[in-house]
């Protein structure tokens, strides 16, 4: 057996793989990242599809990234620059709109303009939601305890969790459960009466998940999208300079600065094992690279069923992973625009284009958009979360021109009676028609349109069935159960083989924690002599 060239090999150069590699390299491990494509970033990439126009092909905004990662990996030194969104904009479907900004009191007045009854509810709503976020946050920054283990070491973590949860106020705990199990519609109806106001707040409750705002589970999706705390503001969102690809380039520079090596166009076909131990990886071209630690940043299907032979894994784990729901329902339609769209009620300002443009006027609108997906078809009038990033970051497009990223739902991965290659442009037309409804004349501005279907997401990023969270974001696939019961702590049944993708806690979204928490697990195991890493002097074989 040849000597390992590396201490650790990370399979997949998405944001979690890069984060993981940066931490491992920072700890002194000789670390190699293997990326299948010609660029790192996974689903967080920026591509210049038209000269001067930078498209965030997939992921397009930043919020959940844990602040610890920014500091611990010294990302500012490598160009980290989140441009905070100054506003979010919600057409209410009747020509009017909600325009929310950084000034709380002015937001209250904006709500009151539509519904005096909802003005004070707005305060209560945000306070209650913030309390829930505070209660749940520590769970994001720690590996899920193994409640199934009898190991005293694991009991320490279980005790921590029990202690933490028992410290949460009764009322807040009830709100946590309402959000974890209930629908966004039910939650919002406890506060608001105005359909537009409810629609605005429901906007993040269905992202990336096969639920409507009236489905149980949408509360959890809503909550997750409020967990970010950029610059100390809960639920705040930013465009990273240069798009989310700009962010993953920062991560790559940080990883390299710590000594990690990144190899592009190096698809991994298998994790090599000897006995029950990982010893390296095999590349598509037949190259074998050896390392006592292999970390998969891919989703659970690929981690457990493709990179290794599932016949060597416990049947219960394989069953769980096979049962895991992916079924992506999101697509992107990205535009290069000749100028700014015009919202008729706000003809002379750009202030409403500073952040998300939320095209889903009411809960009912979004729920109806969901209906089609239940039966294997895409929405006739889809829900759109749009962003004209070039307004905040002019370097994204030539002067006076713009790029507009549209996250469009619903677009089920599997279409009944057709396929995405046939439906691609018709689906793009549906999205564009919705934009035309709200921004008359929109079509005349379009210089270029890129339709990214769930099948495209799967093919380009490797995310199974195009699920943007690397596994649906619903209670049975969360926390202790992400990605599978008993395997939520970043290890696998194969010694030296780890998982760090968004399919592990607390992915998805661009959060970085799976990569960070997995690195902690790896480094603990190295320190305990459970796996070898030559650089640290704990040889294993």
């Amino acid at each position: 057996m040849s000597a390992p060239q590396y201490d650790a090999i990370v399979v997949g150069g998405g944001h979690n793989g890069l984060t993981n590699a940066a931490y491992l390299a920072k700890a002194g491990l000789r670390t190699l990242v293997l990326e299948r494509r010609h660029l790192v970033g996974g689903a967080a990439i920026t591509e210049e599809l038209l000269p001067g126009f930078s498209f965030t092909t997939f992921s397009y905004a930043l919020s959940l990234l844990r602040p610890e990662i920014i500091q611990e990996l010294d990302l500012v030194r490598h160009g980290f620059l989140p441009l905070m969104m100054p506003s979010s904009f919600h057409p209410t479907g009747d020509g009017d709109y909600l325009l929310m900004g950084d000034d709380h009191a002015q937001n209250v007045q904006e709500v009151r303009r539509h519904s005096p009854r909802d003005a004070d509810a707005y305060d209560r709503y945000h306070h209650d939601l913030d309390r829930v976020v505070q209660a749940v946050r520590p769970l994001l920054d720690n590996a899920p305890p193994d409640v199934f283990s009898t190991d005293p070491e694991d009991r320490v973590d279980v005790d921590w969790l029990v202690k933490h949860l028992s410290g949460v106020e009764r009322r807040v705990m009830h709100d946590v459960v309402r959000l974890l199990t209930g629908s966004a519609a039910d939650w919002l109806e406890d506060y608001f009466v105005h359909e537009g106001v409810k629609g605005y707040h429901a906007s993040s409750s269905v992202i990336g998940s096969k639920v409507g705002p009236m489905s149980p589970g949408s509360g959890l999706v809503l909550l997750f999208h409020k967990m970010g705390e950029h610059d100390g503001h809960l639920g705040s969102w930013a465009f990273h300079k240069g798009g989310n690809g700009g962010f993953t380039q920062v991560l790559a520079r940080a990883a390299e600065a710590f000594g990690a090596e990144i190899r592009l166009e190096a698809p991994v076909t298998a994790v090599l094992t000897e006995g029950e131990r990982a010893v390296g990886v095999a590349l598509e071209d037949g190259t074998e690279l050896r390392a006592p630690i292999v970390v998969s940043a891919l989703d659970p299907r690929r981690t457990f069923l493709e990179l290794v032979d599932p016949r060597g894994l416990p049947g219960e784990l394989v069953d769980s992973v096979e049962r895991m729901k992916f079924r992506g329902v999101s697509a992107k339609v990205n535009f290069a625009l000749d100028g700014l769209p015009v919202f008729p009620a706000l003809p002379d300002t750009v202030e409403h284009y500073g952040g998300f443009l939320n095209i889903g006027p009411t809960i009912e609108y979004v729920e109806r958009a969901f209906d089609a997906a239940k039966y294997g078809w895409y929405s006739d009038r889809p829900y759109i979360d749009a962003a004209i990033q070039s307004v905040v970051d002019p370097d994204m497009a030539p002067p006076g021109k713009h790029v507009m990223s549209c996250f469009v739902q619903y677009a089920p991965y599997e279409l009944r009676g057709s396929d995405w290659e046939s439906e691609r442009e018709r689906f793009g037309d549906r999205a564009q028609a919705v934009l035309e409804e709200h921004f008359p004349g929109f079509g005349e501005l379009v210089l270029h349109r890129e339709v990214v279907t769930p099948v495209d997401i799967e093919q380009h990023t490797g995310l199974t069935e195009g699920n943007i969270f690397a596994g649906e974001f619903l209670a049975p696939q969360m926390y202790f159960f992400r990605p599978a019961p008993g395997w939520s702590r970043y290890a696998t049944p194969i010694q030296g083989y780890y998982q760090c993708g968004s399919g592990t806690h607390p992915g998805g979204c661009v959060i970085g924690s799976p990569g960070r928490l997995a690195s902690r697990r790896v480094l603990n195991d190295v320190a305990a002599g459970r796996v070898g890493a030559h650089s640290t002097g704990t040889a294993s074989s």
Binding site: P67, Q106, V391, V392, P394
Partner: protein
């Protein structure tokens, strides 16, 4: 009666907030939109416009103008060629800092001095028998700062002279048909320019700038954004980071150039051909090493900050608004070590940073100190380290064109 600047008619139209402060008797917007941070990012990422007209402006001319300024200003005006500008302090005869300002040299005998406070009487009192004309031209001109990485692109479309202009250089240029002074100066620590414009043509010039910047995301920014920018740039502000010696009550309130972190201005102090106000005292201070303070940056230990707040049941505050009071610093033993004069959470640095004055022995970069902070109505301290200034200093700020 509060006054308005020459740019006010247009800028007030762009202000959706109606939120002004008073700057030397002029209305000055705190912010134009609900999001001052967005205005700040315009400067750090594209281009922003700031109305700095309330500065006092003095024309100093005549055969002995150079001699007058050489004897008053800390930096040596004799080394400043026409077409260049100097940022400088001036002191009292005890070597304490009075004010700061920028002096533009238009020709051998013609200067323009900007100042934060009125200074004509003071200038005049030092004129003696020198052949100098002093004129308060504050109301004759408006000054608009165009700052940020895209400022050069925007201005060069209006005035081709922009392209050749080096850091702290200035030139006569035209914007449309209006003659202006175009200078590569500013108070943001970024690439930036200022236009000094005849008051009655100010709006036309501003309109041209806004039009040229429209496709580059240009937007006006207010004082809230300016505070963030200038603290990141390590630029002190009178009456915030120091007190004018002339109006201070005690020497404890006063600072010397060295104590203010401006020791770099004293390079020519041993040149006996240029006695200037305060020189003897400053030389004594330097010879005796009697400076009481050093000005440094401080950076807060983010983990400690977060823990202090989270353990108290609070979300760690990360406010870009500087508190309007000093925060005391202590050394590792808990003894007083200095104080923080300007403090905020910096979005580009993702850290809490501050401008501080510490005892000189503690000035070395990386010195661990503790800063007082109030959490849940309880006084406690957070760990900080001293850091070099400026915090934010992009190459583009001074890069040759």
């Amino acid at each position: 009666m509060i006054r308005t600047t020459p740019f006010h008619p247009r800028l007030s139209e762009l202000n959706s907030q109606g939120l002004y402060t008073h700057w030397q008797g002029f209305l000055s917007p705190l912010r134009y939109t609900t999001a001052p941070k967005h205005e700040y990012f315009a400067v750090r990422n594209s281009v922003g416009v700031f109305d700095t007209s309330p500065l006092f402006k003095y024309r100093i001319s005549g055969p002995d103008a150079e001699q007058l300024l050489a004897g008053l200003l800390v930096r040596d005006i004799r080394s400043c060629r026409p077409g260049r500008a100097l940022y400088t302090l001036w002191c009292d005869d005890r070597g304490f800092v009075m004010e700061d300002g920028v002096v533009f040299r238009h020709s051998a005998n013609d200067f323009l001095l900007t100042a934060a406070r009125p200074n004509l009487g003071w200038l005049d009192s030092h004129r003696g028998r020198l052949r100098v004309e002093l004129e308060d031209v504050s109301d004759d001109y408006g000054i608009v700062a165009i700052q940020g990485p895209r400022s050069r692109t925007v201005l060069s479309a209006l005035s081709p002279e922009t392209d050749g202009l080096g850091y702290f250089q200035h030139t006569q240029a035209k914007v449309g048909s209006t003659a202006v002074t175009l200078s590569r100066t500013g108070y943001t620590g970024d690439l930036g320019y200022e236009l000094t414009v005849p008051a009655d043509e100010a709006v036309a010039v501003l309109d041209a700038v806004l039009e040229a910047g429209r496709d580059h995301g240009i937007r006006p920014f207010g004082e809230e954004a300016l505070m963030m920018l200038r603290i990141e740039a390590g630029l002190p502000l009178i009456d915030v980071d120091w007190t004018n010696s002339r109006t201070a009550w005690t020497d404890a309130q006063r600072v010397t150039p060295t104590e203010l972190g401006m020791g770099w201005m004293l390079r020519g102090i041993d040149d006996d051909t240029r006695p200037f106000l305060g020189r003897q005292a400053i030389r004594r201070e330097l010879a005796e090493g009697s400076s009481r303070w050093a000005t440094v940056g401080i950076v807060v230990d983010w983990q400690h900050w977060d823990r202090l707040h989270r353990d108290a049941g609070l979300l760690p505050s990360k406010s870009e608004h500087p508190p309007p009071y000093e925060q005391m610093l202590y050394d590792a033993e808990g003894a007083p070590a200095g104080f923080v004069t300007s403090f905020l959470y910096s979005p580009v640095l993702q850290r809490h940073v501050g401008l501080a004055r510490v005892t000189p022995a503690l000035a070395e970069t990386g010195t661990e100190l503790r800063m007082e902070v109030v959490v849940n109505h309880r006084n406690t301290t957070v760990d900080v380290r001293t850091a070099p200034l400026p915090f934010f200093n992009p190459a583009r700020k001074t890069a040759k064109p």
